[in-house]
């Protein structure tokens, strides 16, 4: 089946907690959405490349999140684990319009 890119509404910008993650479920995907200190929103796959830790519960520092399981440091921009660890999670584009936040996913 062809997959198409959809724009999925996940909530109000103002209601997302600051400097914290939010677990968002879209069809069969689990996504971690973060509102960074800068106010930017980032969305990445909610599965740590190490052992599948839930990244949405991690601690955020700048543009990175620390996995709550074993403290891997993952970039919320490109999904890359930081050295010396290796691995990558999927990232999703985000749109903010009229105070609503949308995540772009293939479903």
């Amino acid at each position: 089946m062809e997959k198409t890119l959809s724009r999925v509404l996940i909530g109000n910008y103002s209601e997302l907690p600051e400097r914290l993650g939010k677990t968002v479920i879209i069809a069969d995907k689990e996504i971690a959405v973060f509102k960074l200190a800068s106010g930017k929103i980032r969305a990445i796959e909610n599965r740590c490349p190490h052992k599948g830790g839930v990244l949405a519960e991690g601690m955020i520092s700048g543009e990175h999140v620390f996995c709550p399981m074993h403290n891997w440091k993952i970039s919320v921009n490109d999904g890359q684990a930081q050295a010396p660890d290796e691995g990558c999670v999927d990232t999703y584009d985000v749109e903010i319009k009229n105070g609503f936040v949308y995540v772009l996913v293939n479903v």
Binding site: E15, V24, P68, P84
Partner: protein, 798 residues
């Protein structure tokens, strides 16, 4: 022009290391194909010992993940064995009917474990210790069987034996010689080693030669050639390794003990090279990674057609990866008529040191008990230094700096992970590192066996000079050069009120901090301003943010408070009802005398708390966890005091109190100490008319016995002294130091002096009371706060 084709036989440590070196030198020059008999990506064989000992898991020892091969365009055929090499046509054939041509062929087939030619080796329950499969087999057996015999008292055998002990088996080590590790240690060190390992629970049968493995299909024991027999359900053969040369031999490549190579790792057949444990260079076959990595470097240059130094052989050193045992050996280990030796033997402390000198030069050494000099000796031997350089070091040797200064850039510092001096120095310089921890994080050096830590520290000193000295002080984390005390002073002085302000004002390198300093600063601020400070949820580790224990699958554990381990029918009923209604994964009694509901979904947490209507047990907190109690005078025939009552009073008073780390208490009513106060942060023992207060015990990672703080008469005094002790700990310990570490650092006498001083005790208690006054019960707080519920506990179903 088409790329040159490299084929590598053997997806192991030496072969892949060579490819890494090649990729560094000429990233896109070659088409690379790898065949590996084992169905895994390249992993760290060394760490199998740690896997068996339970310190790490199979999934954590991978060196090159699958995507590494992809990222570097390497074609990998895992689980595929090369069966034939046609050296004239330059083609290899595999057991899966594949054929692959090559321009350059690297044979890195490693070694095979030696299996003694005894009757019965084919029985179930007989294994070697070489790969993941062997390791998994042993773990599996340990779950079903009790008795293991390890044949071979060398390095591998002893590491296997230690692992099997950790897995709960009884272990007998059978060894042919009368001394353990006789290839690496002399008799004296061997005897000390035996004594230590016996203390750890190993049993030894020395000077025993196995003649037969007994049993039907499955092994049941061993018979020795003196006719004696022993029982065993598992037999591990660790009697040595032999280079895996079959393929080379069949191809007509020159083979002696290993595949014969010259100083450039070339075999006698054009375009075929060999590296690793299967290769024999100047009559030497190596069985440790450090020399194999050196070979890999030389071979990489040769294959890339670069001028490079020839491989001239390596001086190796051995360490035993068994915790609690420090042995080191290098070079020559026994004396002869041409040698003199320096010996120090401290039987009392179990320290032994021998240095062998021949014609004024150090040629070998054996260390036991204190191996701090190991790296230095190794390096002196390598450079052929005169013995005086060791006995009478010049000023610059003293620091260890001279040693690392002399090393060439490509000298290996961390043999296990193949990290060179150049890489470490470069990382220190370009990434602004200033601690061993950071170097470990950035380069992997000292991540496996840790024996190179002192060299890494020397390199830091050598690279950073005075700056490093300064950095020796414990900083809060890598984001700052300030220590905890300095940060606290600044916070007080400048009246800072949140973590971001602290980071900005104090010039944190990373303006948003890291997972280490965020919770630390959050704690210090809360400790300094218990009433005013608003706790930052985003600076808390998930457990403390959500007030539950996260599990590996992202569900949570719920542990309600059960003061002093005492419960009642009503609470038990509520727990049972909730467990049933929410279909929790498991109901388990914890080691802290209460009940854990495991496998709860995050969304269900608030409703469960509501229905339980019990306070949080803070099983997740850096703060008061449990107060264990014994039965006490009310029921027990030995009880002298109401330990249960005092335990409950302590728990009610201090519940919810935060700390630099968690703290636990135990109250018993007689010296039998059934509540295990000897390994608690605060352990109280009741005697006739007296309570003894012990502090600084730990039953966790680093066991420590608690020390007596004082003896008092009434339970009110226990509360008073405990309050002062805890407050002093809260105010002066580094974040994440348990009381055990803190008491060790401060010294019990000092703590007695402070807490024993009546005025100070009163002041400490005053500040403690203030801290206690600000505590809110977290579960009810969460369920009564709509924003919290929405922000923290709800998922979005879009």
């Amino acid at each position: 022009m088409a790329k040159q084709k490299i084929v590598l036989i053997g997806n192991g440590m030496a072969g892949i290391r060579t490819l890494e070196e090649i990729l560094k030198l000429s990233p896109d020059a070659f088409d690379i194909t790898v065949f590996g008999k084992e169905p895994y990506p390249n992993y760290n064989r060394i760490e199998l010992s740690k896997v068996l000992q339970g310190d790490t898991s199979v999934s954590d020892i991978t060196l090159n993940e699958w995507h590494w091969y992809e990222d570097n365009n390497i074609k990998l055929y895992p689980g595929e064995t090369v069966t034939t090499i046609d050296k004239d046509q330059q083609i290899v054939y595999t057991d899966k009917e594949r054929k692959e041509s090559y321009d350059q062929l690297i044979i890195a087939t490693g070694s095979d474990p030696v299996i003694l030619p005894l009757p019965g080796t084919d029985k179930q329950g007989v294994t070697a210790f070489r790969d993941i499969k062997d390791c998994e087999k042993m773990v599996d057996y340990s779950k079903k069987y009790k008795k293991a015999a390890v044949i071979g008292g060398g390095l591998l055998g002893l590491e296997a034996a230690r692992g099997l002990l950790n897995l709960g088996m009884e272990v007998d080590v059978v060894h042919l010689s009368d001394s353990l590790m006789d290839r690496q240690l002399d008799k004296e060190a061997g005897a000390l080693l035996k004594e230590e390992l016996e203390k750890q629970g190993m049993n030894f049968l020395l000077e025993k030669q196995t003649s037969e493995i007994l049993g039907d299909d499955h092994v049941s024991g061993l018979r020795f050639n003196d006719g004696e027999e022993m029982e065993a359900d598992l037999v591990v053969m660790a009697v040595g390794i032999k280079p895996n040369v079959t393929l080379a031999k069949e191809t007509g490549i020159e083979v002696n003990r290993g595949i014969v190579v010259n100083d450039y790792l070339e075999t006698n057949v054009p375009n075929i090279f060999s590296v690793g444990e299967c290769a024999e260079h100047r009559k030497m076959v190596y069985g440790l990674v450090a020399p194999l990595y050196q070979q890999g470097q030389v071979l990489a240059k040769r294959i890339c057609g670069m001028e490079g130094e020839a491989y001239k052989g390596s001086v190796v050193s051995t360490q035993l990866k068994v915790s609690g045992v420090d042995v080191f050996s290098t070079g020559q280990i026994t004396e002869n008529e041409n040698t003199k030796s320096i010996k120090v033997f401290d039987d009392w402390r179990g320290v032994y040191k021998k240095i062998i000198v021949e014609q004024g030069k150090i040629t070998g050494s054996v260390l036991f008990g204190d191996t701090g000099d190991g790296n230095r000796l190794l390096s002196l031997i390598k450079k052929g230094a005169a013995v005086e350089e060791y006995t009478d070091p010049g000023q610059n040797e003293e620091s260890g700096c001279g040693l690392v200064a002399d090393m060439p850039d490509d000298e290996l510092i961390c043999g296990c992970n193949g990290v060179t001096k150049g890489t470490i120095v470069d990382a220190i310089e370009t990434q602004g590192l200033n601690s061993v921890e950071q170097v470990k994080g950035c380069t992997n050096a000292s991540r496996s066996c840790g024996t190179c830590k002192s060299l890494v520290s020397d390199l830091l000193e050598y690279t950073l000079g005075e700056e490093y000295e300064e950095n020796q002080k414990e900083t809060v984390c890598g984001c700052t050069t300030l220590s905890k005390d300095e940060v606290i002073e600044e916070i007080k002085e400048k009246g800072m009120t949140n973590t971001r302000e602290v980071m900005n004002v104090l010039g944190w390198k990373n303006g948003e901090g890291c997972a280490k300093c965020k919770p630390a600063l959050n704690y210090y601020l809360g400790m300094l301003y218990p009433v005013e400070y608003e706790d930052e949820r985003e600076s808390r580790f998930v457990n403390e943010r959500l007030h539950a224990n996260i599990q590996k699958d992202g569900t949570f554990g719920v542990v309600p408070r059960m003061y002093g381990g005492v419960t009642n029918a009503e609470d038990l009923r509520k727990i049972a009802d909730v467990a049933e209604k929410y279909e929790v994964g498991m109901i388990k009694l914890t080691g802290g005398q209460r009940i854990n509901l495991l496998g709860v979904n995050k969304e269900d947490l608030p409703s469960i708390w509501g229905e339980l209507d019990m306070p949080s047990g803070h099983a997740y907190a850096k703060g008061l966890r449990t107060v264990k109690t014994c039965v006490g005078s009310e029921f027990c025939r030995f009880g002298t005091q109401d330990s249960t009552g005092l335990g409950i009073a302590l728990e009610k008073k201090f519940e919810g109190l935060s700390g630099p780390h968690k703290f636990k208490m135990g109250v018993s009513a007689c010296p039998r100490n059934c509540a295990e106060g000897g390994v608690k942060d605060v352990g109280i023992v009741g005697l006739e008319g007296v309570w003894e207060i012990y502090v600084g015990g730990n039953g966790g990672t680093d066991l420590r016995q608690a020390e007596l703080l004082c003896k008092v008469e009434t339970s009110d005094e226990v509360l008073e002294w405990t309050g002062a002790f805890l407050q002093y700990y809260r105010e002066s310990a580094n974040y994440l130091d348990r009381t055990s570490v803190w008491v060790e650092r401060m010294g019990i006498e000092h703590i007695q002096e402070v807490v024993g001083n009546k005025e100070k005790r009163a002041e400490l208690n005053e500040r403690m009371d203030l801290a206690l006054s600000a505590i809110q019960e977290p579960w009810s707080e969460a369920i009564n706060n709509g924003t919290l519920l929405k922000e923290l506990y709800e998922k979005v179903n879009a």
